[in-house]
């Protein structure tokens, strides 16, 4: 009897703690959405329900910011993030296939070296990369954000290699019997069979590219027609706060997280897998 009382007590405490935490997690999002539907005069009101309710801020975002800047920012974020996903998937998958399937001299050394680079903080590469890109004349263009996505990476390669290793070897032998080349085996056997891992990695890479602040800040800090949403929002924070238009700023913030929210609710499983696996990163 006392045992069940004890359990009920623990249950109540659990729910109380979890609900309090959930509220803390949610309130910033609720507030963001709430402020974005208010009239500017109400921006600091403590009422959660906007009164009056307006969608004017979303129009202002596209109209009041000069030269359709917000459209450009959104387009740029999509463009850079999608290209980053394509680059990472292609180059990491090729390397992962070679490391997982092919036998050649120096394989184990090269793979160990690649994995060891996980320990190098990204800030260490930033300075020499900036110098190289500066001499190539790429500062102020989107190339420094896109090109490195096409030179592989330890995290993606490691993750895909682990998955490739679970694919039965008989498939390789059978494909060989049919006269398939190395690249055929990669392209027609391994890649199609690895959709779950590719999906998880794509989502993870997309999220990282979409949310990246440091790199676009270094390479594309000022031109609002070329840079990304993150840099744009950071810039507007200073601009709009001066004009006292938090309502428009929150509309921008909400639109900027919307694509990831949609992906998250559609593909929650892959999303969580990708982030759980990301533990291997960094």
């Amino acid at each position: 009897m006392s045992k069940s009382v004890y359990k009920t007590l623990l249950d109540i405490i659990s729910y109380a703690v979890l609900l309090f935490g959930a509220l803390t997690m949610l309130i910033p999002f609720v507030w963001m959405i709430s402020v974005s539907f208010r009239v500017p005069a109400q921006q600091f009101s403590r009422n959660i329900i906007p009164n009056p309710f307006t969608i004017q801020n979303y129009f202002d975002l596209f109209r009041d910011l000069p030269d359709e800047v917000f459209l450009y920012l959104t387009f740029n974020s999509f463009k850079i993030s999608i290209l980053t996903v394509i680059g990472q998937i292609l180059t990491c998958a090729m390397a992962a296939f070679v490391f997982a399937v092919v036998k050649f001299k120096g394989r184990d050394f090269l793979f160990a070296l690649l994995v060891a680079t996980l320990m190098i903080p990204p800030q260490v590469s930033l300075i020499p990369n900036f110098i190289i890109f500066k001499y190539l004349g790429w500062i102020g263009t989107q190339l420094p954000l896109i090109v490195p996505a096409f030179w592989g990476g330890a995290f993606g390669t490691f993750l895909l290699r682990q998955y490739f290793l679970t694919i039965p070897r008989d498939l390789v032998d059978a494909a060989r019997m049919d006269g398939a080349s190395l690249f055929d085996i990669f392209w027609r056997v391994y890649l199609p069979l690895s959709k779950p891992a590719v999906a998880a990695l794509s989502i993870f890479v997309f999220k990282d590219a979409w949310n990246d602040l440091l790199h676009p800040l270094v390479y594309l800090p000022t031109d609002m027609h070329k840079t990304t949403l993150t840099v744009g929002l950071a810039f507007f924070q200073q601009q709009l706060q001066l004009g006292g238009k938090f309502t428009v700023l929150m509309a921008g913030a909400f639109l900027s997280i919307l694509p990831l929210l949609i992906i998250f609710f559609i593909a929650q499983k892959q999303f969580i897998e990708g982030v759980a696996l990301s533990g291997v990163k960094r």
């Binding site: 703690v17 997690m25 929002l233």
Partner: protein, 295 residues
């Protein structure tokens, strides 16, 4: 290891073609740039005039540079608050969710939201929440009878920034701990129950020892993230000239390299950051060998 497919004839070429992007990445992205940063740290260079040989001078100066020392100490302080915060809170959430409670998937989704969304966007709203006169946090505090707090003033900014960073990281830790908790075989709990252990005793005798690999892992990841923390700090504490009210090491690197164009100093600081990560990892792996229980 002796697994693997032998490349036939011209396939050797294909093999290296498929590896080329990765090799380029090793040369320009990681190994090469580590060496380049090491080299740059021995010069004074503003990217305009020719580089000047400085030897270890840049490293010696780090110990005399008040701004840098402040940034480095801030990074350590930040980590000392952030790492235990993330590990303990995300472990707590995972344990509560693992109690076969109703609405697990709802809670999991909600706790995970800040991990999905960009620090830039959520920092904008945190900035409003922290507002001294207008923020809802102070509004709630005043209603509860406390004095309002200037959350983002110099004295409190560190604490406020740590809170937001923890808020943004609990979801990720929760997932890692949930994976660790569900991997514990049920037999252990059944054996403990037969011995008459209640839920709390089971936690200390079964769960905690068997979850040490996840704790180790999450501590490692959180600390590496803490050493590199940047986004929220930039968004919540920046002032003019790349300055901040909570300058941390990454801030200092960024500022020296891209505001003042002191490539030598910035490189020396980046190397020191890499060393900090390396030393920390060495300590952690030593700790792992002695204290982490693997089945």
């Amino acid at each position: 290891m002796d697994y693997g497919l032998k490349p036939l004839g011209r396939e050797k070429l294909w093999l290296w073609l498929m590896l080329t992007p990765t090799l380029v990445g090793l040369v320009f992205g990681t190994v090469g740039s580590l060496l380049a940063t090491l080299g740059l740290s021995l010069f004074d260079w503003d990217l305009i005039n020719p580089p000047h040989w400085a030897g270890v001078e840049n490293y010696v100066q780090l110990f005399e540079n008040k701004d840098y020392i402040e940034a480095f100490v801030n990074t350590l302080k930040f980590s000392a608050l952030y790492v235990p915060g993330v590990v303990i809170l995300s472990l707590l959430v995972a344990i509560l969710l693992n109690r076969k409670i109703r609405g697990v998937s709802f809670f999991r989704t909600v706790y995970f939201l800040p991990t999905v969304t960009s620090a830039v966007a959520t920092a904008l709203v945190w900035n409003m929440i922290y507002g001294k006169e207008t923020g809802i946090l102070n509004f709630v505090l005043e209603r509860l009878g406390f004095a309002p707090v200037c959350w983002l003033c110099t004295d409190n900014a560190m604490m406020s920034v740590v809170i937001v960073n923890i808020w943004g990281a609990i979801g990720e830790g929760m997932i890692i701990f949930l994976a660790g908790l569900t991997a514990i075989p049920r037999d252990y709990y059944e054996a403990a129950m037969l011995d008459g252990a209640n839920e709390l005793q089971q936690f200390f005798s079964v769960t905690l020892p068997l979850i040490t690999p996840s704790i180790f892992f999450q501590t490692l990841i959180s600390a590496i993230n803490a050493f590199q923390a940047y986004d929220y700090i930039y968004m919540l504490t920046r002032r003019g000239q790349g300055d901040s009210s909570v300058p941390v090491a990454v801030y200092s690197i960024y500022r020296n390299a891209f505001h003042f164009f002191r490539m030598g100093d910035a490189s020396a600081q980046a190397i020191q950051l890499a060393l900090l990560v390396a030393v920390f990892m060495a300590i952690m792996f030593w700790w792992e060998r002695h204290y982490v229980v693997y089945e």
